[in-house]
Each structure stands twice: as C-alpha cells, then as structure tokens.
C-alpha cells in the first residue's frame, strides 16, 4: 500500500488518465441523457438548460480527446465511449432527475467532480519526481487547461442556479 499523493509510474498515470476519460464520458452520457429527456418533454420551455447541456456534452468530448492524446503517449488503451454510455443508461436511465433543478444540480456535481479530479491529479504529478514518457510540461499544461474549463463550468452552472433561485 502506498501512503501519499504522488503519481509514481507511467502505468499509474495512464490509469488515472483513463479514469479521467471515463469521468468525462459519464458527464457526456448524462448530459446527453438529460438532453434527450428534455427533447421528449420540455425542450421548448428551457433554451438555457438545453444550451448548457449541449455545451457540457461538447466540452466533455473535447476533454476526452485531449486525455486520449496524452494516454496515447503512454501506450495505454482508451475506454470506448459506447461502453460507458451503456453503463450510464443501465444505471441511470430509470432514475432521471424530476425537474430542472435536479438537472442543474447533477450538472454542478459533474463539473465539481471533474474539477476536483484534475486538481488532485495535477498536485499528485507535481509531487512526483518520476520522469514520464510524456513531456511533463505538456502534461501539466493540458491538465491545467482542463481544470480551468471545469472551474468555468462550475461558475456557469452556479450562475444559472442563482438566477433561478
């Protein structure tokens, strides 16, 4: 067992990036799922939430690509999006949020979780003196950009929630 917070190998880094990809896939699949539920019921009623979910899904897809490029340099496999989408549907499909507040709250959790993940990962890489197969500066720069995007996402959702309170 290792006690501490640093990333100590290429393999561990690749695994963490894979987890990042899955988290982004979960966000994308859930946003897509919510978007579809809006399409069936109230899509016309709320352009703001529709646009928020669309943006969340697009952003998550971009983040996945960025993470996939990093793990390609580490020679690890990515996780197929369809597989995660099926899992999200299976676990989540029957319990969709009851209202817009539920959707916004879920989206806020998504953004906050992703922010926390990238923040912890960046710190763990900064605490490590291991030389990875990918360039450390590029790795940290990509992850910091992703973290900044998640922070913006938290602010975006919070603003909408406050306006509606």
């Amino acid at each position: 067992m290792s006690v501490g917070h640093s990333v100590t190998s290429d393999h561990q880094l690749a695994r963490l990036l894979q987890i990042g990809i899955v988290l982004e896939e979960v966000v994308e699949a859930r946003a897509h799922h919510h978007y579809q539920s809006l399409a069936e019921e109230d899509r016309d009623l709320d352009d703001e939430i529709e646009s928020l979910l669309e943006h969340a899904a697009e952003e998550s897809a971009e983040h996945r690509n960025a993470l996939e490029e990093l793990i390609a340099g580490l020679e690890a496999d990515s996780v197929p999006f369809e597989e995660i989408e099926t899992l999200v549907e299976a676990q989540y499909g029957q319990t969709k949020p009851e209202d817009f507040d539920g959707i916004l709250y879920d989206q806020l959790c998504n953004e906050e979780t992703a922010y926390k993940f990238y923040d912890d990962l960046i710190k763990a890489i900064e605490d490590s003196d291991v030389e990875f197969s990918v360039d450390r500066a590029t790795l940290l720069s990509v992850l910091r950009d992703l973290r900044a995007a998640e922070r913006d996402g938290v602010e975006r959702v919070t603003t909408i929630m406050e306006e509606r309170a």
Binding site: M1, S2, V3, G4, H5, V7, T8, Q12, R15, L16, Q18, I19, V22, L23, V26, R30, V79, I84, L87, V88, Q91, Y92, C109, N110, E112, T113, K116, F117, D120, L121, A124
Partner: protein
C-alpha cells in the same frame, strides 16, 4: 483519499479483524510505513478527535473516526469494483491501493454511478482477501492465482 483517511481505513480493518485496538506495529506493517510515521499520524488523528491511543494496546477509532473510516473504505471498494468491472483490470487490488491516494471520495461517487454495488457495502469488504466479498470478476486468472 488523503493520508489521514488511508490510516483511518487501515485502523478500522485491523480493529474489525482483531476485535480490539489496532497495534501500532500492525498498522505500520499494513500501510508499509515506519512505526514513527504511524505514531505521528495517530497523534494527529487523536488531536482531531478521530482516534484514541491507549498505551501498550494500540489505537482505537472514535465514533466519528469510524464514520470517516467507513466512508474511506467505501471509496476504496468503489475504486476496486470500478477497476475490476469497468476497466477489467486483473490486478485491481494492487492498482486500487496505488490509486486510492489520488482518488477523492467525490470522484469515487461519480464512478459509483456506473457500477453495481451492493447495499451492504462496505460491510461486505473482506480484509483477508483485500476485496469486496461480493465482487464478481469476469476474468478468472487472478481468483485462481489467489
């Protein structure tokens, strides 16, 4: 999961197995740290009201410490289950041990949305096997090897 939570989880598991306080030496062995490091962290946990240290007996978690330890164990179970069932990682035990320090409880909760975990979790965790007793793995190599 931060370092304190890793200690709380380890103390909890030893306490359960021993049905009594966790000896500092056993705790240090389990976490692969020096007894001095273990003692230092026990002092911190004590000052936070999460554990009580009894001389010559070992360390025991307070009620608040038990709650935190069970949360940490649940996070660990989620990581193991996620690695085994979603990413099909055969060495899920050792990888979970490596990753637990970097995966926060909130992140684990999100991963939890795509795995099937039993309601009795984390009580189904088997410290001997270092895995959930209900965990079903699709690959047989590791279970045979163990």
């Amino acid at each position: 999961m931060n370092t304190a939570d890793q200690y709380l989880k380890a103390i909890y598991l030893i306490q359960q197995a021993e049905d009594g306080p966790a000896a500092t030496g056993k705790l240090a062995d389990r976490l692969d740290v020096s007894p001095a490091s273990a003692n230092e962290m026990i002092g911190k946990l004590e000052s936070r009201g999460l554990a009580e240290h009894e001389k010559y007996k070992g360390v025991k978690l307070t009620d608040e410490g038990i709650v935190r330890a069970r949360d940490a164990l649940q996070t660990y179970c989620i990581i193991e289950r996620f690695l085994a069932n979603v990413l099909a990682v055969e060495e899920f035990r050792s990888e979970a041990r490596e990753l637990e320090a970097v995966i926060d409880g909130t992140v684990a909760e999100r991963l939890d949305t795509i795995i099937e975990r039993r309601p009795e979790c984390p009580d189904c965790f088997d410290p001997e096997d270092d895995a959930c007793a209900c965990l079903e793995v699709t690959f047989e190599e590791e279970t045979i090897a163990d």
